[in-house]
């Protein structure tokens, strides 16, 4: 754990010390996008069933031309800190190439400054795990590098979080097969024992 923190710290520091080409840090991005989503704080959505409507757009109070480099917007479903506890595979890292906070993509749309706000409806996919989430949108330039972002929660990721209840992946057929095969294994063992006993008696 200490080694990991040290590695992370040195990575972050080294990126400030040297010009890092291709490494984009979240802390270096400006929060220029306004993102809102239909789930209310604390709402529980069902995987595969419920829908999320996401609206995003440039913050209108900013100066004109801020969005001149934005070419694509990608909206993602991101883990809230409570779902990252004791789960290193969902860790938040400042270097966006290594960051594992946002693992589920919602939608990607091209961006034009003329029509800066957009909306999309998304059904929560069946492979989204049970967890607490928020939504973040990244703006990419022509080189597919992140240049700005926006999210539905605050900077500490504590407000306006919602939950998803995933499907179990189980089916009644599977349950029945498991039980049947298990019973068959045990019963066949006793069948063999009985058979052995009979053969031994016969050979006496």
């Amino acid at each position: 754990m200490a080694a990991r923190a040290l590695l992370l710290a040195s990575l972050v520091l080294s990126c400030f010390l040297f010009p890092c080409h291709g490494t984009v840090l979240l802390s270096s991005l400006q929060r220029t996008l306004e993102v809102t989503a239909s789930p209310t704080s604390g709402q529980v959505l069902k995987g595969g069933v419920d829908k999320i409507t996401v609206t995003w757009g440039l913050n209108q109070t900013l100066a004109a031309g801020t969005d001149s480099t934005y070419k694509t917007i990608k909206v993602k479903l991101c883990y809230a800190p409570i779902s990252q506890v004791d789960r290193g595979w969902r860790k938040t890292v400042d270097d966006l190439k290594k960051d594992r906070t946002c693992q589920n993509d919602i939608v990607a749309r091209p961006y034009s400054p003329a029509k800066s706000t957009a909306q999309s409806e998304w059904t929560v996919e069946r492979d989204v795990p049970t967890a607490t989430y928020f939504i973040r949108a990244y703006a990419y330039d022509a080189d597919e590098k992140e240049v700005a972002y926006g999210q539905t929660t605050d900077a500490q990721k504590t407000t306006n979080l919602f939950q998803v209840q995933a499907i179990s992946g189980r089916h009644a057929t599977m349950d029945i097969c498991s039980i049947c095969f298990s019973v068959f294994s045990v019963v066949s063992l006793f069948g063999f024992f009985y058979n052995e006993k009979r053969k031994a008696k016969r050979s006496q």
Binding site: D127, G169, S178, E196
Partner: protein
């Protein structure tokens, strides 16, 4: 080298065997590509069923990225399940050893395999971290089939080839731990491509190891035989094999200090192997920033080395045993396992990916060869309680795995590389007690055979029976074994007691 007419067991006509046999009808040659009953058939049945158990026990780790999302597991849940998967077998292996002594390896292992198959089927319907831990715990019991494998090979193959037979059977079974890292993701991918979603596909995938396990148990029951002459039950009823009492078997097993020393040292070759199986993928993934499937392939290669390394250990044991006897076997074991510890220390210290992979492979060869070498010594520790000694040693292996994971790889006290280095130091220390193993009839690492009265093979093996039991004739199979084990004196001394054997007795 067929010796008939020395048999003291009553036979109507001498049974014909496809391989040359000794007075106990154990094969004196090991022919890998034959399936002749009963010897080679037993070999193939035992390694395949053991392989199936390893595949089932380690089927979850390669699919963890999917399972942990489906069951909402934390890193602690995963770690605990990993420890649970190897801890069940600690007592199961000891119990299996005794069961083999009493009921025969065929029934003992087939029973265990069929009784743990439900745990694998139920993995498909696990729905929480608790149920996941429970299914991994109960599936892990099946690793006790290792003991029946070694017992069965020790019952079917004679002293000159027993190390090889044990080594190949054990090694090719352990291979399952590596093969599963490749098989399960493949099966999962196929099922998902057919149309199932991720969270359903992994569940269906678990039916494959479960069915494999069930079918291998059936094959064992239908085609296998406990001993070259037949099954325990039939031999018991016909009076050809005596039935022993559990309390006697138990007593003579646990009072033999050699069994305890081997249990400890096995914890630091096989136990280390199990630990590495559980942590090495994550180690490469984190330290060198690899993709998960690349780290998985490297992890698989550690287990796959078993195809040659453990059999190699068994063969080295037999070759050294032929020339130098038991003393050679003990020295070879100590040297190889200590070198394994040295390479483990190096693995914890190297910093580059290429060097790490090379050192890991060298380390795996030594570590797994030491496992093979251990079971070149185990068959000779006791005849009456062979199963229990095998079980204690095997169980000791799992204890080593549990201990090592608890001390060095739980939580964040040590980084993984420091943990690996410290594990290497512990290997070296826990291998030292091998120096204290001493057989009066053959000697130990530093002392020659005893010159006092208890100095023959017969004295050693018959000391496990009291005079009452000897009067009843219960000791006769131990007598035959003692005669056959005289080859453990080594070539120079061996030529004094029997004519020199010109034909090679190991043929693979």
């Amino acid at each position: 080298m067929e010796i008939e007419g020395q048999a003291t067991v009553k036979e109507s006509q001498p049974p014909k065997f496809a391989l040359p046999v000794d007075s106990e009808h154990k094969a004196t040659e090991f022919r890998l590509f034959s399936v002749a009953a009963p010897h080679m058939r037993a070999f193939h049945l035992s390694w395949v069923s053991f392989f199936a158990c390893f595949v089932s026990s380690f089927a979850a780790p390669p699919l963890l990225p999917i399972i942990r999302d489906n069951l909402n597991l934390t890193a602690s849940d995963i770690g605990n399940a990993g420890i649970a998967s190897v801890s069940g077998a600690v007592f199961a292996r000891v119990a299996m050893g005794t069961a083999c002594d009493l009921f025969g390896p065929r029934l003992a292992s087939a029973s265990l395999i069929l009784l743990t198959a439900p745990a694998v089927y139920f993995t498909s319907i696990a729905s929480s971290s608790t149920s996941f831990l429970l299914v991994r715990f109960f599936t892990g019991f099946s690793l006790a089939t290792f003991v029946s494998t070694q017992f069965w090979m020790s019952s079917m193959f004679s002293a000159p080839v027993v190390g090889t037979a044990n080594g190949v059977a054990g090694g090719w079974g352990n291979l399952g731990g590596g093969a599963t890292q490749l098989i399960m993701p493949l099966v999962f991918g196929l099922i998902r491509d057919i149309g199932a979603i991720k969270f359903t596909a992994w569940r269906i995938a678990f039916f494959i190891p479960a069915l494999f396990q069930t079918l291998s148990a059936f094959a064992l029951l239908i085609f296998g035989k406990d001993l070259p002459d037949g099954n325990f039950r039939r031999l018991h009823k016909a009076g050809d094999k005596t039935k022993d009492k559990f309390s006697n078997v138990f007593y003579h097993g646990i009072t033999n200090y050699r069994g305890w020393i081997l249990a400890l040292s096995y914890g630091y070759c096989f136990g280390v192997e199990l630990t590495i199986d559980n942590i090495v993928a994550e180690y490469f993934y984190d330290r060198f920033d690899l993709k998960l499937h690349t780290a998985g392939m490297i992890a698989a290669s550690f287990g796959l080395a078993n195809i040659v390394s453990r059999p190699g250990g068994g063969m080295i044991s037999d070759a050294v045993g032929k020339r130098f006897g038991m003393r050679g076997r003990l020295w070879a074991l100590w040297v190889v396992q200590t070198l394994g510890g040295v390479f483990c220390i190096i693995l914890g210290r190297v910093g580059s990916l290429g060097a790490s992979i090379v050192v890991m492979i060298v380390f795996s060869l030594f570590c797994q060869a030491a496992c093979g070498l251990t079971f070149g010594v185990v068959p000779f520790v006791s005849r009456r309680s062979l199963g229990l000694i095998s079980g204690m040693t095997g169980g000791g292996g799992n204890v080593g795995a549990v201990l090592t994971q608890l001390i060095f790889f739980k939580g964040s006290k040590y980084s993984k590389e420091t943990g690996i280095m410290l594990m290497g130091i512990m290997i070296i220390f826990c291998t030292l007690p091998i120096c204290f193993i001493y057989f009066p009839q053959w000697g130990g690492m530093f002392c020659g055979p005893s010159s006092t009265k208890i100095a023959t093979e017969e004295d050693y093996y018959l000391s496990e029976w009291n005079s009452e039991e000897k009067e009843k004739g219960l000791h006769l199979s131990s007598l035959k074994f003692a005669d056959n084990s005289r080859s453990e004196r080594g070539r120079k001394k061996d030529s004094e007691t029997r004519p020199v054997d010109e034909t090679p007795s190991t043929q693979v």
